[in-house]
Symmetry: D3
Subunit: 69 residues, 6 copies
């Protein structure tokens, strides 16, 4: 599958915290730094996510903001 | 200002393409890789964005997806 | 690639309207009905989208609202 | 109320899973296929959602992505 | 139509700037302050938006961030 | 920090309901009316949010919809 969302950063799952409906996935980016994703708990199960697994963080361009100091 | 959006990745503006309402800002991340942001043209002007300027890409956690190979 | 976004509806491109930065893609769903997507013009080019092409509309669950009459 | 979000697909509630803050609503679309929505538990109560109830899935165009095989 | 998006603030259209695909609508809130919405140009036409028209700004709760000084 | 998200409405925290992963923050706007934000529980802790605290509701323009009666 090829996706219109052009932002795809490689990394590894660093931590998973599961609630009833949602789960928080902390991603250690290969380039350094972290990203946190809130996805459904079912997606965590469907993708077989576990600490250490290689994944991509995917973000639609319209969801990225810019900040300056 | 301190923001609830916990995803803040440092980088530099690599390219700006301006439309009538929106603008596409390509960000070269300090850790490697790129992110594209679609924001309003007015925000580009308000923030004084220009190629080479140091910025942060900011993303709300609920907007981050996870993909596996 | 397998994606955490669980909403993937099959359809065909019905219409594309391109602006400078963004493009509007009207999708005729296989099950009937239409969806409109606003993505970047570059993604239209990267995906080689054209009227009649078979695609999927993909939506993160946190972006779906519910309405009643 | 008439809404700018142009994507409104008719369906029925197939399943509801409630957490503390959010709830996952699985929607069986009239045209076939399913969509999952993550909304607040309070909205589930305010709308009186229950399995079998006729509803609409509503999605802002800027939240729809496109994927190809 | 009753919507799961619980954030509905009354106001008036203060300004509309139209691009090819999207439009920027500046809303003067009845309670003071402004909100800017980026919606499709077609939605501006479908809703018959014009300066001075009474409208509501509608926002899904998962899209609202919080900031402190 | 200066942010591209141009919608920043001042208010006070009226209520906080915490789940496992997410939290619902009800904001009483200074101009009247309320907004509900769903953010991560960790952001509630990082920002030190508590009832009565002065905050800003921040919303990206592409996330604001428009409705008419």
């Amino acid at each position: 599958m090829k996706l219109s969302a052009r932002n795809q950063l490689p990394g590894k799952v660093k931590d998973i915290k599961e609630g009833v409906v949602t789960a928080e996935v902390v991603i250690a980016l290969d380039g350094g730094g972290e990203l946190t994703a809130v996805i459904t708990k079912r997606s965590v199960e469907n993708l077989g996510l576990a600490v250490g697994k290689k994944i991509y963080a995917v973000i639609k361009s319209t969801e990225v903001m810019v900040a300056t100091d």
